[in-house]
């Protein structure tokens, strides 16, 4: 009971904190528009979206990952660090002081540069690894455009015409950091890691871009705000993912939203798997492969290593944010969005509406981060050639087929309903594939190893894995 209560309190705290920061972001953006020049809200958004939200979530994620993996593995997790202040002297505070100790450790460790390393490139590596992932979030809309203090405020840093292409371009820059780190360390293990990383990241960029084309076709845009879409308020038609494929009539809207995951499940799986490979986290962590080659950052210490580590966590947050915007309806509610937007209170106080939907966005992001953590701690590592097989022989043809099927369906039925039906069918097929036990096939080939004493259950715990990665893993043979 106490445990459930703790969890509930923690969840409420997190939601409250997200709402609070969202509200602050909208208020500051409004004030900036009011007192500075027009468009100053974009500058405040840089601070709030990229520094406050992404960085703080990434920092907390270092702890959350350790705590969550501990939960999955029958451990307690970090609880040793204490703050020597009256009242909290003997409390572990859920391990939060560990963030401080980690940072202190990183910053105060010897900053070692190997003698034979190329000093310039060696120092450039972590910077090039960190900066691109950090810049990725600039095009992701984290909330609706609302009117605050009489000014229009967008909760996005930049809305360039090329939209998602910016994401793909900047994401592919990150490979330089890893490749340089591996090469300039003048270490054979690091070199192996760097080569593995660059080949993996470059191959998966193809699948990454291809998996999104179906989505561009469906929404006729490459801009994230357009893909997220606007609600049908004040007579205008809903656009993007704010639309409903089917909906009930009446003031409270309830129906099947035109979210990317429903229209493009294959695209989603391809995108999620490919971007997972880009983040270089398990099961795609062969460049790190700590039990084989230790990794491309083996020679790095102190904060340089910390940059690689934190960029991995920033990637997790950014990936979750981008996926939310592309496939999970961005800041839109699954139902009742139009009803909420038409409430007089919401129309009167734009910042309140923005705060609510901003919180919705960040909660979806947190959910996707959680999915990534579950995948990270459930699967072993691929082999190097298996990753390439998955990328080139499975994700790429799958993405190509998806482009043609989606294109045909969009052309046939511009209301996207046909696409939605096919998408739901695809989800159903994937669910069935994931849940079915291939007991007979597996055992026919390898049954000999079980001796005469059969009858033990083999199909355990397999269904609990998250669908996306599982489906991609299941098709990787």
């Amino acid at each position: 009971m106490k445990r459930v209560l703790t969890v509930l309190v923690a969840m409420a705290t997190i939601t409250g904190a997200l709402a609070g920061v969202s509200a602050a972001a909208y208020a500051v953006a409004g004030l900036a528009e009011e007192h500075l020049f027009t468009g100053a809200s974009r500058l405040s958004n840089i601070v709030f979206l990229m520094l406050v939200f992404v960085m703080i979530i990434a920092t907390l994620l270092t702890l959350a990952e350790r705590k969550w993996s501990a939960l999955m593995q029958d451990r307690v997790g970090p609880n040793r660090a204490r703050i020597n202040l009256p009242g909290i002297r003997n409390r572990s505070l859920a391990g939060i002081p560990h963030i401080l100790t980690d940072v202190l450790k990183m910053l105060t460790k010897e900053d070692f540069v190997p003698g034979a390393a190329n000093r310039f490139l060696f120092k450039l590596g972590p910077i090039l690894a960190f900066a691109p992932v950090f810049a990725l979030f600039a095009v992701v809309p984290a909330g609706p455009s609302v009117t605050v203090f009489g000014h229009r405020v967008d909760m996005v840093v930049a809305t360039p015409d090329f939209g998602v292409l910016y994401l793909l371009a900047i994401a592919s820059l990150a490979v330089y950091g890893t490749a340089l780190a591996g090469w300039s360390s003048n270490n054979k293990f690091a070199l192996l890691g760097g080569v593995r990383a660059s080949s993996q990241m470059i191959s998966y960029e193809v699948a990454l871009g291809l998996s999104l084309i179906g989505l561009f076709l469906a929404f006729s845009s490459v801009q994230l705000p357009a893909i997220v879409g606007d609600l049908a308020v004040a007579g205008a038609d809903a656009t993007g993912q704010a639309r409903y494929l089917w909906r009930t009539d009446g003031p409270f809207d309830l129906g099947l939203p035109a979210w990317g995951i429903i229209l493009q499940p294959i695209g989603f799986i391809g995108f999620f798997a490919a971007s997972f490979a880009e983040t270089k986290r398990a099961p795609f962590d062969v460049p790190e492969g700590e039990s084989e080659i230790i990794g491309y950052f083996v020679e790095y210490s102190g904060m340089k290593f910390g940059m690689f580590m934190i960029s991995e966590f920033v990637e997790v947050v950014v990936l979750a944010g981008v996926t939310t915007a592309l496939f999970f309806g961005g800041h839109h509610l699954p139902f009742g969005g139009e009803w909420l937007a038409s409430q007089p209170l919401m129309q009167e106080h734009g910042w309140l509406y923005g705060t609510l939907l901003g919180t919705v966005f960040w909660l979806k992001v947190l959910f996707l981060i959680w999915v990534q953590l579950v995948i990270r701690w459930t699967f072993p590592r691929f082999r190097y050639d298996q990753i390439q097989t998955l990328g080139w022989k499975i994700l790429l043809p799958l993405g190509l087929a998806n482009v043609f099927v989606s294109g045909a369906l969009v052309l046939w039925d511009p209301s996207l309903r046909a696409l939605g039906v096919v998408g739901l069918l695809e989800i159903g097929v994937l669910m069935v594939l994931t849940m079915t036990k291939q007991e007979s096939a597996e055992h026919g080939a390898h049954g000999g190893a079980h001796g005469a004493h059969g009858g033990h259950d083999h199909g355990h715990g397999h269904d609990a894995h998250a669908l996306p990665s599982h489906a991609s893993a299941a098709s990787s043979h």
Partner: protein, 419 residues
């Protein structure tokens, strides 16, 4: 003379003077590729114990691999020659430090065979229980580490929980977690503690639950299967040629288990199966180990249910220490105690080879006695040694990433290989 000096330079290619353009032939030739030699170990996360693997790589493919042992050499054989037979026991702990009791009992069994001694039935039961407990810990570590080194941390920690529970029971029985030094020539030095059997049954139940968890995380995990199935293959003939024994050999399809082939102690009284693989790959080795753990649990359950009462060590003061009241109360007791401690057990001259089925295979002991009370020669046939010797045969031409699961599932233990 001057001509002969200048002629070759004038005709040949001089990179310093001919500009940056390479000669025509070099443009056509293939890109120069060099093999990379890397050292895995002696300190490497994937080496159990301390072993150095010199790996020559062509890209990601292993061209040549050269395992180099000796980093854990402690002079086991020579040390044993300088102490009494009983004092050898702590040295045997450190051979395979994951299953010390098996080494203890295997050594004692060989000494008893040399003496021609039959140990009490209860002692035989306790030896079976202890051996199977340590077979469980050894396999748990091996399977867990296989998962861990392929990137799955959870199965390792589930395995560790089960291992720690068993380790607690072992501590209650022997007084030590790893270096048990349990048993004496002629039997066992202390009986099962009160209520220990029930605790063990509970531990086994929990272990079974954790095995189901590990099984669920690994056995049908697509990535795990892809990484292990069809990698690290060795044929049954090759395995026998290299001298493989134990689970690694059984995974090749050879149903050879000393517990069945030459039953020792009371193994023939228990109902258990010997799991046999088919392909001799990493996946089969993993499955065999998983199944052997279930069989070990079966054996322990049966042994705990049927263990008879009675003495735990032979009543012979030339071999076993006399009871303490006799030592403090009678002159015969004092003398026997003194002679045993100072001179050791007077093992008759002769030589013997005896083997037991340890967790990784046939743990053989070749003992020579000259009747002095100390071993003249102790040689261990460590199951890990032939297994390690076959690594180059298995892995050359395969990928670097295959080395890790292969090295895990063959479960070579540094301590026993290098003695």
């Amino acid at each position: 003379m001057a001509d002969s000096h200048t002629m070759p330079e004038a005709k040949g290619h001089n990179p310093d003077t001919d500009g940056s353009l390479p000669p025509e032939g070099e443009l056509e030739s293939h890109l120069q590729a060099k093999h990379m030699v890397i050292n895995m170990g002696p300190s490497h996360p994937a080496t159990h114990g301390t072993v150095r693997l010199k790996v020559e790589l062509d890209g990601e493919t292993i061209v040549k691999i050269d395992p180099e042992i000796g980093f854990l050499h402690r002079g086991f054989q020579k040390s044993c020659e300088n102490v009494t037979w009983t004092q050898c026991l702590p040295y045997t702990d450190r051979l395979n430090y994951l299953s010390a009791m098996m080494n203890n009992f295997g050594f004692l069994n060989a000494v008893e065979k040399l003496i021609g001694l039959e140990i009490p039935e209860r002692a035989q039961y306790i030896r079976v229980i202890g051996s199977e407990l340590h077979r469980l810990t050894d396999h748990l570590t091996c399977v867990g580490a296989t998962g861990l080194e392929m990137g799955g941390f959870a199965p390792f920690l589930y395995g560790m929980e089960a291992r720690e529970l068993i380790q607690d029971r072992v501590t209650e029985l022997t007084g030590a977690r790893l270096t048990t030094s349990f048993g004496r020539v002629g039997g066992i030095n202390r009986d099962l503690p009160d209520g220990w059997a029930d605790k063990v049954r509970k531990t086994l139940t929990r272990t079974e639950e954790l095995l189901v968890e590990m099984d669920g995380l690994l056995t049908r995990n697509r990535i795990f299967v892809d990484r292990t199935k069809g990698t690290g293959i060795i044929s049954a003939d090759d395995a026998i040629d290299y001298g493989w024994t134990g689970p690694a050999l059984r995974a090749c399809g050879v149903a050879h288990d000393l517990r069945k082939a030459h039953p020792y102690w009371v193994y023939e009284r228990f109902d258990f199966d010997v799991p046999v693989g088919e392909h001799g790959d990493n996946y089969d080795r993993y499955l065999v180990r998983m199944e052997e753990m279930r069989q070990s649990i079966r054996i322990i359950r049966q042994a705990l249910d049927t263990i008879p009462t009675g003495p735990i060590i032979v009543d012979d003061w030339r071999i076993a220490l006399p009871p303490k009241p006799e030592v403090y109360g009678t002159i015969e007791g004092v003398m026997a105690h003194f002679k045993l401690v100072m001179e050791g057990i007077q093992v008759p001259p002769g030589e013997v080879y005896d083997a037991t089925e340890a967790s990784n295979g046939e743990l053989g002991w070749y003992l020579v006695s000259d009747g002095r009370g100390r071993p003249y020669k102790v040689h261990v046939r460590a199951p890990g040694f032939p297994v390690l010797a076959a690594v180059p045969h298995i892995i050359e031409g395969k990928m670097l990433a295959d080395l890790i699961p292969t090295f895990d599932t063959i479960n070579m233990i540094g301590g026993e290989v290098e003695q």
